[in-house]
């Protein structure tokens, strides 16, 4: 057809690659197939993690532990945290959208290391099954997703060891993915495409992958030491044998604080892609967005001990980590105001993708404000290990990242399937999720401020009403999944045909057919200098030209 699809090009195609629906169950090396594998696999684990959250909220409807025994409650909260973080948010917001979009954005036909990419994905299902099966075999781990010793060394060993194995596999998958993203963004760019011309999601994934490569191995090493303590009875983290528990906390949070940015930076990138398209305006402050991502990467590596203000941390350390943490509010605030300025004066199409993006902005700024509050030692000492922390965390990872995941699904579904999603169902989904989410987690701030500790199945009866309110919100969130599920399944078969570029977007993934062909473009990859060159009437945009630079200059 065109020059690049000569028979010689066909020779490089790996053999034995299924082409029908079966490829989604195969060791496919196509980045789009792998992206969808991540997305669907992650969503299945989201349903499991959601069911576990439902069990937690059901238990907390009454002050007594009458729905399940206390040790089962511990297992459920551990599995909920681990599944949601390591099997839903990290794989989806990095692996799914990263694999689908990054090759398009850099103008490549695949990731830098396609086979490593497939290996990284196929580590996830067995790790997830291993984790969940531990509940049915010997009882799952009970020490929460943080696995702090002595909790993790004194509860049942088998569940904890399976948990460690599973997290090591998932960490390996994450590192392989990170190496791939760094190599793709830095090395696989189309000639002529400069770094500062890349869509913002590339920068977000570059920053995230740097964090993944630098911090995940430390978690792996720590968990290996922890497994020695459990299996071989060494005393690394056992004061009774001369060890030191706090060292575990330092090493754990050296990964797990950056992990929060690993979960939320890609969401920043995705929302920066969605807003300009639907507001018909360039992304406000591109360069400041890039620098603030990189500032968050650097600062994110030196704030970990703000999780440990009650762990006997010496005063100089408290001071340093308070100040460093407060600094993060600066780049994050820059991004927040840039999104507002992108919306400002735009011709906003208030569809489901934008609604979820705006929901993200609202929830995220609330979570950010409580985050700055938690960075202050006097306040943190008061609410440490209470429901205030639970509320803050869920405002960031659910109100922030999961809202963006839904916004992204509404935005890119037409590209992936070639069909539009139902807008009415989408708005219903947003309304239920937004109300349910805030009803579930806003009251938990009050619970925490009044001293209700987290991770307990029983609580003071005076907190019963607020907990019931929170549980009602959780029920609403569970119900909100139904219109979404119906929408994505039904629209795949009966949705309106989308066409190549239903949003009249300028980023490269829209400048090909929907769904895209195996090597992304028939013919040469487009060179997009101005991915956000909006601002002229839609009928005047020459999409075939595929370059926004002239539009940028003629824009109103």
């Amino acid at each position: 057809m065109t020059v690049s699809l000569t028979p010689q090009g066909e020779q490089h195609r790996p053999s034995l690659q299924p082409t029908g629906w079966l490829r989604y169950f195969s060791f496919s090396v196509d980045h789009k197939v792998i992206g969808l594998q991540y997305l669907v696999c992650g969503f299945l684990f989201y349903l499991i993690g959601g069911a576990l959250a439902g069990a937690i909220r059901t238990e907390l409807v009454s002050p007594m532990s009458d729905f399940m025994p206390r040790d089962v409650y511990n297992q459920v909260l551990t599995l909920h945290g681990t599944v949601m973080i390591f099997l839903w948010i990290v794989p989806v917001v990095n692996g799914a959208f990263g694999n689908y979009l990054i090759p398009f954005y850099v103008g490549a036909r695949d990731m830098a290391f396609p086979r490593l990419n497939a290996v990284a994905f196929w580590l996830i299902p067995p790790a997830g099954l291993l984790l969940i099966s531990s509940y049915f075999i010997t009882g799952a781990a009970q020490s929460g997703w943080t696995a702090y010793p002595p909790l993790s060394t004194t509860t049942a060993a088998s569940g904890q060891v399976i948990w460690i194995l599973s997290v090591l596999l998932l960490g390996g998958s994450s590192i392989f993915g990170g190496i791939n993203f760094i190599a793709t963004v830095l090395k696989l760019r189309r000639p002529g495409l400069k770094l500062m011309q890349l869509p913002m999601y590339c920068w977000a994934m570059l920053g995230t992958s740097i964090l993944v490569v630098l911090s995940t191995p430390v978690l792996a090493g720590t968990l290996i030491l922890l497994s020695f303590d459990i299996v071989a009875h060494t005393g690394f983290f056992n004061p009774g044998l001369g060890g030191n528990v706090v060292v575990y906390q330092h090493l754990f949070w050296f990964y797990s604080h950056p992990a929060v940015y690993i979960m939320v930076l890609p969401a920043f990138g995705l929302v920066s892609e969605i807003l300009p398209v639907h507001c018909r305006k360039p992304l406000f402050g591109y360069a400041t967005m890039v620098y603030s991502i990189m500032a968050i990467v650097v600062l994110g590596l030196v704030v970990w001990a703000h999780h440990m203000f009650t762990s006997g941390t010496p005063p100089w350390m408290r001071l340093f980590f308070t100040i460093a943490t407060a600094f993060i509010a600066v780049p994050t605030g820059i991004k927040f105001f840039n999104w507002l300025a992108t919306l400002w004066g735009g011709r906003i199409a208030l569809n489901s993708a934008v609604l979820f993006s705006c929901g993200f902005i609202i929830n995220f700024v609330l979570g950010g404000i409580t985050g700055v509050a938690l960075a202050q030692v006097p306040f943190d000492v008061h609410v440490h290990d209470t429901y205030f922390v639970v509320a803050h965390f869920h405002y960031i990872v659910y109100g922030g990242t999961v809202f963006v995941i839904f916004a992204s699904i509404y935005h890119w579904y037409p590209k992936v399937t070639g069909r539009m999603l139902n807008e009415t169902l989408g708005r219903l989904h947003f309304l239920l999720t937004f109300i349910g989410f805030n009803l579930c987690f806003a009251p938990q701030h009050w619970l925490g401020l009044n001293g209700m500790p987290r991770r307990v199945a029983e609580y003071d009866p005076q907190f019963a009403f607020i907990n019931q309110l929170s549980s009602a919100g959780a029920l609403l969130m569970a119900i909100s999944t139904l219109p979404f599920l119906w929408n994505v399944v039904d629209s795949a078969f009966r949705g309106e045909i989308a066409g190549d570029n239903p949003w009249n977007a300028l980023t490269p993934e829209w400048l090909t057919s929907s769904p895209p062909p195996v090597e992304n473009w028939e013919g040469e990859a487009p060179l997009v200098h101005e991915p956000y060159g909006y601002g002229v009437p839609i009928d005047q945009i020459d999409l075939a030209a595929a370059s926004g630079s002239d539009l940028w200059s003629s824009g109103k």
Partner: protein, 199 residues
């Protein structure tokens, strides 16, 4: 071992329209940065234990230095011999390259044997005290790296047995990747030797 596949069938090299650039060494280097961070975590833990959790006076044991110094020399020499192997491969002298590779592998295995000798002569076991646990965890994790490296050297040695084999002067990637890894493992040993035996 996916990284050891020749580039002729590698999709990575045909993933873009433009030149068939090979980014695999970049990937290997990034992986080694990650691996270095694993060691950095262990080192940080060891140094913190060292500073904050001193041993009981009767548990303190002066480590003997001759054997670890021999180990250091073995590894440093093996880095040089690997370098010679790479030089010869680039010249197309496969057989000379293989001799240097075999010498490198033997030096690596000698390191492992010497490490085992040290283990068996030490008066403490894994669970005796915090220093003992950290000592065995650190040297054991490094020894695992040396073991994998020696195995990979032997694989490359096998792969370049004929001039038309998988590792040739045209396709040096497997050798270069293992060489970078081997230098990395040697460098880690030097740091480990400094903080474990000398501090």
């Amino acid at each position: 071992m996916t990284s050891l596949k020749p580039s002729s069938t590698d999709v990575a090299s045909s993933a873009t329209d433009h030149a068939h650039q090979d980014h695999r060494m970049f990937g290997v280097a990034t992986f080694l940065v990650a691996d270095a961070m694993t060691f950095a975590g262990f080192f940080a833990a060891y140094l913190t234990f060292h500073a904050v959790n001193p041993l009981q006076p009767d548990a303190i044991y002066e480590l003997e230095l001759p054997l670890p110094i021999l180990n250091t020399v073995l590894l440093l020499v093996s880095s040089a011999t690997f370098h010679k192997a790479g030089q010869n491969l680039r010249k197309g002298a496969n057989q000379v390259c293989r001799q240097w590779l075999m010498l490198t592998a033997v030096l690596g295995l000698a390191f492992l044997v010497s490490q085992m000798v040290e283990y068996f002569t030490l008066p403490f076991g894994l669970t005796d005290n915090l220093f003992a646990s950290t000592f065995y965890a650190l040297t054991g994790f490094h020894g695992l790296h040396v073991t994998l490296g020696a195995l990979m050297i032997l694989i490359v040695w096998w792969q370049c047995r004929t001039p038309a084999g998988r590792v040739t002067s045209e396709n040096q990637f497997p050798l270069e990747a293992v060489e970078l890894y081997w230098h990395f493992v040697d460098g880690i040993w030097v740091v480990l030797f400094l903080i474990l035996y000398l501090i």
